[in-house]
Amino acid sequence: MRRSDPQFNQFHKLHHFLSIDGLDKATLTHILDTAEGFTSVNDKSIKNVPLLRGKTVANLFFENSTRTRTAFELAAKRLSADILNIDLVSSSTKKGESLLDTLRVLESLQSDMFVVRHSDSGAADFIARHVAPTINVVNGGDGQHAHPTQAMLDMFTIRRHKGAFENLTVVIIGDIKHSRVARSGIAALVTLGAKEIRVVGPQTLMPADVESLGVRVYRDIDKALIDADVVMGLRLQNERMTSATIPSTGEFFKTYGLTPERMRLAKPDAIVMHPGPTNRGVEIEASVADGEQSVILQQVTYGIAVRMAVMSIIMGHGEEVREAEMSQA
């Protein structure tokens, strides 16, 4: 049977947030605009809005995460939802329980939204296709595939600093091959119309046919950084440091590390981004990560508003489905 994009419900509205692929510019812009409204909520002394009051959001993290899970938790709380944190890394799935069985159990806890992180690419897609139609799914990172809320908070950060995307040259450095952050970021930048997206790193860290994503490949970081408006570092995973993909973290830093000298090749007002946590002295020098051009901590802050935007938008669309199911019942 031919499959379609599971992100949209029967009313052609965004019901799950799984991937930037398949979303148009208007949808991404709507998320950014909505997040803009929520930043003011976060600045107030009483930070809650009642949009998700009475709703239950379940954090289903099959892979370790502190930052992303906490950000989702905070976003859900500020929307006045109840939040369930379920630690799946050490529990049922390790005992051989199938992913589907785990989902059925969690469904019966009457949650309205699942935020999922899983080590398999396509896991969020699989979960969205198999949950009850009334549940909304947000992808908190699936394998090497997508991390769409990270991409949206990155876009939000860029827009805050740079305005429109059309004239921007964005450079992404490092492990593109294994990075869901890079894939989602590139997809969002392409859709929002960035002028040029450059990726730079050794071939061992590039996926096959990487140009097909809409990027230009550079081997030389010094050439890649010329006239850049936005410089994005990526975290080099520990397991890559001990395999044959790079010889040593020292050589990686020498060849691709982001240093103050290299940053001078970019535009003077270029911003430095990183999804965190940073490996200082591996991908980035501390003085750059903490320097004037760094917006790394703002990314974390904006992550709350962006996730509030995503959750409230799809929960709203979920309401339509829930009402339709009620009227049928």
Binding site: D21, D120, D125, F126, Q144, H145, R183, A208
Partner: protein
């Protein structure tokens, strides 16, 4: 004495390059000129095959029947019956069962179950190392005499090149052909899809073409030095086809096959993570598919196999990378095969040759095998691959097919226990691949050794 007469069929016999309308007479399991006077037509069973094609029964070079060991996925009874519906009268079954097919006892068990099932003939592929562990040689001559016409290694790679060399030397001493899928696990490195733009977008770890070509180049070199008859199983890439083509040009004793789905699908089909397209041999690019099709037309590829891999439903109910590999192939095989002449602009007789006389020639016993007498005795209940045709004197394994009948591929109509076919419920391939192929072709009768099976 049993007599069978088939009237009015379009008789397609690729071994003899015949495509004609004639009557077929079968007596006592073999084709005869006509019946003797005393075996008058009254005794004979008569089939009016008007509108049907009669051709030798198909031979499947590679299918998993899952028994012994994995009967939740398939049994010899269920899968050999499903094979008949696909047009197969003989199925070479993969040795990666539990226990592995590395002893005469397991071969015997499979043969007995197959006889009881009364489906297609089941011809076990011997595992050429004990337990498919890639370390110790199996008793190849013993297994050959027990009825394994070919030895293979399923999808288990042989990482030790010394073991491979030694196996090929040993097998060549007895003229036993080896069937190997070229696959370098270190290069594939846990990949689950063709290493191209689509896997990159989906974040799926890729299987580079080099995983196939590096392993194939190694096999070709070993074939050059040992002279072992090597059958290359289930190729997927254009570059591997190039290597194969030049090896064949040099006159090496190499044959090769392709899985039927690889002539239709590409990595485009996985773009929504449909686990039914998750295959150990990945679906590659449009160019790779084109090269496989060319190779089939020009004879570089000798055979088409089903690569049948039935699964229980749970095995596919997981995210793509964690789902089990393989497609259930039997139920859609006949319509896919009959779609090939139009799709490839290839004569039907040549397409049928790829599943009849050509695979038969690959496994046909050569001289110099010890205990040939014993082998000959076994042949009565095994495929007689030595003259696989509809000619007088040949063993009467044949099928009658309605080439116009639309296939019904609804899940409840599938015979295989494995419902994991992306074609379940599909009536035309256009909705999947965009190529205009109607799914037609229904096996009406299967006849094995002169007896009607279905």
């Amino acid at each position: 004495m049993t007599h069978l007469r088939i009237d009015n069929a379009r008789v397609i016999d690729p071994a003899n390059k015949l495509d004609e309308r004639r009557t077929l007479f079968i007596s006592d399991g073999v084709f005869v000129d006509q019946f003797d006077r005393e075996q008058c037509d009254d005794d004979a069973q008569v089939i009016d095959a008007k509108g049907l094609i009669a051709c030798p029964g198909f031979i499947d070079m590679y299918a998993r029947l899952r028994e012994p060991g994995f009967t939740r996925k398939g049994t010899i009874a269920s899968e050999s019956t499903a094979a008949l519906k696909a047009g197969f009268t003989t199925v070479f079954c993969a040795p990666d069962t539990h226990p592995v097919i590395d002893s005469s006892a397991t071969v015997e068990l499979i043969k007995q179950k197959a006889v009881a099932a009364n489906g297609a003939r089941v011809s076990p592929i011997a595992a050429f190392t004990a337990g498919l562990e890639g370390k110790l040689l199996s008793e190849l001559a013993t297994l050959y005499n027990a009825g394994c016409l070919i030895a293979g290694h399923a999808d288990h790679p042989v990482t030790d090149t010394g073991v491979l060399l030694s196996t090929m030397e040993y097998a060549s001493s007895f003229n036993i052909p080896l069937m190997i899928r070229p696959f370098d696990p270190a290069i594939a490195s846990g990949g689950c899809a063709h290493d191209g733009a689509i896997a990159t977008r989906l974040g799926l770890p890729g299987i580079p073409v080099a995983a196939e070509t590096v392993a194939l180049a190694r096999l070709i070199e070993l074939c050059t030095s040992t002279g072992c008859h090597l059958h290359i199983s289930r190729l997927s890439s254009a570059r591997a086809i190039e290597l194969l083509r030049s090896a064949k040009k040099k006159g090496l004793p190499i044959t090769a096959d392709v899985g039927i789905h690889h002539l239709y699908f590409t990595d485009e089909q996985i773009k929504h993570y449909d686990a039914n397209y998750h295959s150990a041999v990945p679906f590659r690019s449009v160019d790779d598919r084109a090269a496989l099709r060319d190779a089939l037309r020009d004879g570089t590829l000798d055979a088409i196999c089903s690569d049948h891999a039935p699964h229980d439903n749970d095995a596919k109910l997981a995210p793509f990378p964690s789902s089990a590999t393989g497609l259930s192939a039997f139920d859609a095989f006949a319509p896919l095969l009959f779609g090939l002449p139009d799709l490839l602009d290839m004569p039907l007789i040549d397409v049928i040759g790829k599943v009849t006389c050509e695979p038969a020639a690959i496994v046909a016993p050569k001289e110099v095998v010890p205990n040939n007498d014993k082998l000959a005795a076994i042949q009565t209940d095994l495929l007689d691959a030595r003259s696989y045709s509809l000619a007088v004197g040949s063993q009467a394994d044949l099928v009658l097919i309605d080439p116009q009948a639309h296939a019904n591929l609804s899940a409840e109509n599938m015979i295989s226990l494995g419902k994991n076919s992306p074609l379940a419920g599909v009536t035309s391939l256009t909705e999947i691949t965009g190529e205009d192929v109607a799914l037609r072709g229904q096996v009406i009768h299967s006849i094995i050794a002169g007896r009607l099976r279905a």
